[in-house]
């Protein structure tokens, strides 16, 4: 049972022959309650793809099914009804400047059959939920970026949607505010079980909240899987380059190329990069090989994180001793990926 099913979705702007192929044959299934990330550089087609989910962009081919309803077959009127259960938040918030926070949050409730009091109560509950109970009378121009996005989230939740689409929702925010907004989305996801689709170009966002991720490049989904799978064992260059943006393990190559004294090796020493690709390894492996094979391991860079509850990352170290070779062999057996970058 998937709440969102995109089957062979393509979107071409302009003519088939010389138009822009923004999305090419994308198939994605998203389960209820999931936080699904779509990451890609700008121009990869991710914003167009997310607009194909609520049909703000009508796909030129393929089908879109949300909550059991095939949107691509619906007439406009029904589609508008269906959209009320698919909310969206935006990079630039898109709040109505002439309306107060309360009126903004109440915007989607018009025509919902709620009385004035019921609407007001619901709006205040939502403002409470997003942490802005005292801003009901304020205008958007009086709020900070983070507060505006909170209001936008409250507005998005007003129609009790099944799905929340986040289009670069944190890209205009500073890192701290980004964190707080992501925490809020995660919270809401846990409390309400709403399915969330997150479009971003920031690795950090995917790491912070997503369960599964699809990597987009030139309109195609080139890699898809659990966040841990995809980032522990990237298959595509574009995925690797995203990982590199949040890791410092790549810097070692520059140091080696520049012959930096930090990486000067004596005979018998090696510089190696160790990557923990699997959940059962941890930093303890280092002290283990060090004891067992009597080698010295001096760490130059280290970068590990907890992704989806599992450690991911690795380190670059200078390893010296008589049994370096055996130590490497042992680590490989333990599913640590070892790359020898320089030998003395």
């Amino acid at each position: 049972m998937n709440v969102i099913k995109l089957e062979h979705v393509s979107k071409t702007f302009g003519r088939e022959t010389d138009g822009v192929h923004a999305v090419r044959d994308v198939t994605i299934h998203i389960a209820p309650g999931e936080i699904f990330g779509i990451i890609g550089y700008s121009g990869a087609g991710k914003s167009t793809l997310v607009r194909c989910i609520n049909l703000l962009e009508r796909p030129t081919a393929g089908t879109v099914t949300v909550d059991g309803q095939e949107l691509t077959r619906m007439p406009e009127r029904e589609l508008r009804q269906a959209r009320k259960k698919i909310s969206m938040i935006f990079q630039l918030f898109n709040l109505m400047p002439s309306r107060t926070v309360e009126q903004n949050v109440a915007f989607p409730l018009k025509g919902s059959g709620l009385s004035r009091e019921e609407t007001r109560r619901k709006v205040l509950e939502l403002l409470e939920l997003v942490g802005l109970p005292d801003k009901a009378e304020a205008y958007p121009s009086q709020l900070s970026g983070g507060q505006k996005q909170r209001v936008a989230i409250a507005r998005a939740l007003a129609s009790d949607p099944k799905v929340l689409l986040c289009d670069e929702a944190t890209s205009a925010l500073d890192p701290q505010t980004t964190q707080s907004i992501l925490r809020l989305i995660k919270d809401i996801n846990q409390k309400t079980g709403i399915t969330v689709v997150v479009i971003t170009h920031e690795m950090a966002v995917v790491k912070e909240i997503c369960h599964r991720v699809a990597v987009m490049d030139k309109g195609r989904v080139v890699e898809e899987g659990s966040v841990f799978e995809v980032f522990s064992n990237p298959q595509q260059p574009v995925t690797r380059s995203f990982i590199a943006t949040t890791s410092n393990l790549g810097k070692i190559e520059e140091l080696i190329a520049a012959n930096d004294p930090i990486v000067a090796v004596k005979p018998g020493e090696i510089v190696a990069r160790l990557n923990y690709g699997q959940s059962n390894v941890s930093e303890a492996a280092i002290s283990e090989v060090s004891r067992r094979f009597n080698v010295d391991v001096s760490i130059i860079f280290s970068n590990t994180e907890i992704l989806d509850g599992q450690p991911l990352g690795g380190l670059v170290a200078l390893i010296s001793g008589d049994k370096v070779g055996e130590a490497i062999g042992y680590l490989s057996e333990k599913n640590v990926m070892v790359e020898v970058l320089k030998r003395g």
Binding site: R80, A82, R83, N94, M96, Y139, S159
Partner: protein, 226 residues
Amino acid sequence: MGDLLSSIIPNVVARAPQFWKACQETFQMVGIVGLLSVFIGIPFGVLLFTTKPGGILQNRPIYFVLNKICDIFRSIPFILLAMILLGLSRLVMGTAIGVKGAIIPLTFATVPFLGRQIEGALAEVSEGLVEAAQAMGCSPWEIVWRVYLKEATPGIARGVTITLVSLINFTAIAGAIGAGGLGNFAIQYGHQKSLPDIMWTVLLLIVVMVSLVQAIGNAVVKKTTH
């Protein structure tokens, strides 16, 4: 008070009944045509904007026609427009002179003018707001009411203000070709009979009217901008 006025503007006081009639006629023309142009010009501008290619109600033929109407009527100098519309005025209103005769040419001049102002005001509304409303399931007409018209209120108020100011200007010109009103009064007595106090009184009155319209417009803009 009466003595004071008779000493400053003797000729106006001497023609007080004609003066008051002229004032009334100007107010009538500005009032009636002002209302008409708001009620026709705003929908005209909304259609002009939304039927444009890429607009939410895009429709090439309608846009083409409206756009051309706008261009043509806006390029004809008002005095010539009033003359070519004499026949239509006689047909529709039964007369081509007086306040009644002035309504058709004034409306034809102000509606396309206001239409363009409205078009510009709506263009100021961020595309993001429209997209957000579409994502919330709003229909095109809901978007017109709840997003474009509501969010463009300050711009619309500005457009209406500018239109009313030009309308006051047009009524004076209409006076020259038989519409009555303050313009006619100033031309007939101030200019042709060389009575400068009449000319200056009318000018002062028009300046006051324009300033008042502008002040009200500015207040509305200020109140609706957040």
